[in-house]
Symmetry: C2
């Protein structure tokens, strides 16, 4: 049994759950989920830091106590040898390239804008950073739109983990005030992802977060 | 022949050159290097953006015109099937985990602090961000130090691409005002990396950048 430490509203954590489900792994049969609220310090306890000194979710733990961190590394491990990651070295490298793009040029803007809008107080000084985050988030979406004008997926010729990773926060970019109207190919791709077998949507924000999100735009 | 588009002072670009050399590939025999100065917009020309819409270095291009971007994806592709990346899926995933750590929790602080100190004007408003960047950079180094207290390398049991990736900016963290004195295991690891066969040091900053670095502390 795989133990997943995750915070349900987090796209990085949802990636892991979505891939597990699409690989046919089932909650409480093949994996357990330990809800770990990083927004209130549950990844900063001594017990958690002993397992992951970087203090982040998601983390997976095997029955022998071995742990693996970093959402996209977890996706790679789960997908290894499956159709969700190409076996061809060049195609695999292209998928990895999109995984690194997601963590460097996409998530730090789109996920962080969303977090600030929904999970920080209405008067948080972090809100001053939203215009720059949104501008950089749009730049990332424009790179994706350009790829999708000529390619149906980000993981080689088929749906796979680069799509799982990029879907997670792209689908909720509007929570951070980053509209998707200007990206028709991207919106079509979101629909294709949502039509894949075993697809599982990201949970809706809890009511308090939704109120803050609605007030942010 | 592989064509590498890179900016020599960039640790992300040096990673590629270091691994190529350690794999026995030689400049102008097995790969060519096209110097591409991202600090003066050479990654934002129409010609460059046509190849990499994200406008970053490094980028590699094969003879058939196919390109691969993202430094750590390039490392994975070059190392695939070699001793620089473990074949065992779990060990490979751990190496990937460190590659994602490097791009998310390390480079955005340590490399950016260095860039601001050496490659922005002495009166750049970006310098106001240095204290936070340095604090987060130290947090990343502390995570590395903890790993190195019990493990000689970041890539499974041997030196490999996670070490190449993490070495690139750790060795020049002091350029950004991030001292390494508090991390003895990390300094020992830097020495071990520098003693690996075919090691190639990062070029020293050009004189104008060195003057700015010296004035930043």
């Amino acid at each position: 049994m795989i133990t997943v430490y995750g915070f349900s509203p987090s796209g990085n954590c949802h990636k892991v759950k979505l891939l597990l489900e699409q690989l046919g792994r089932r909650l409480d049969r093949d994996y357990r989920w330990i809800e770990t609220n990083s927004a209130i310090g549950e990844t900063r306890t001594p017990g958690y830091l002993a397992k992951n000194p970087n203090g982040k979710v998601p983390m997976i733990e095997l029955d022998d106590g071995c742990v693996l961190v970093e959402s996209n590394a977890i996706l790679c491990w789960l997908a290894d040898g499956t159709s969700f990651l190409p076996a061809d070295p060049w195609q695999k490298a292209q998928a990895l390239s999109w995984l690194f793009f997601e963590q460097y040029s996409h998530e730090p803007y789109i996920a962080v804008a969303r977090f600030i809008c929904g999970w920080t107080p209405a008067d948080s000084p972090r809100r001053a950073g939203l215009p720059v985050l949104r501008q950089c988030g749009h730049a990332a979406l424009a790179v994706m739109e350009r790829h999708l004008a000529a390619n149906p997926w980000f993981t080689g010729s088929d749906y796979g983990i680069a799509d799982v990773a990029l879907y997670a926060y792209t689908c909720v970019a509007p929570h951070g005030g980053i509209a998707l109207d200007a990206y028709p190919a991207l919106r079509d791709w979101l629909s294709r992802v949502e039509a894949t077998p075993g697809f599982l949507p990201l949970p809706a924000p809890e009511p308090a977060a939704q109120v803050l999100i609605d007030q942010s735009h």
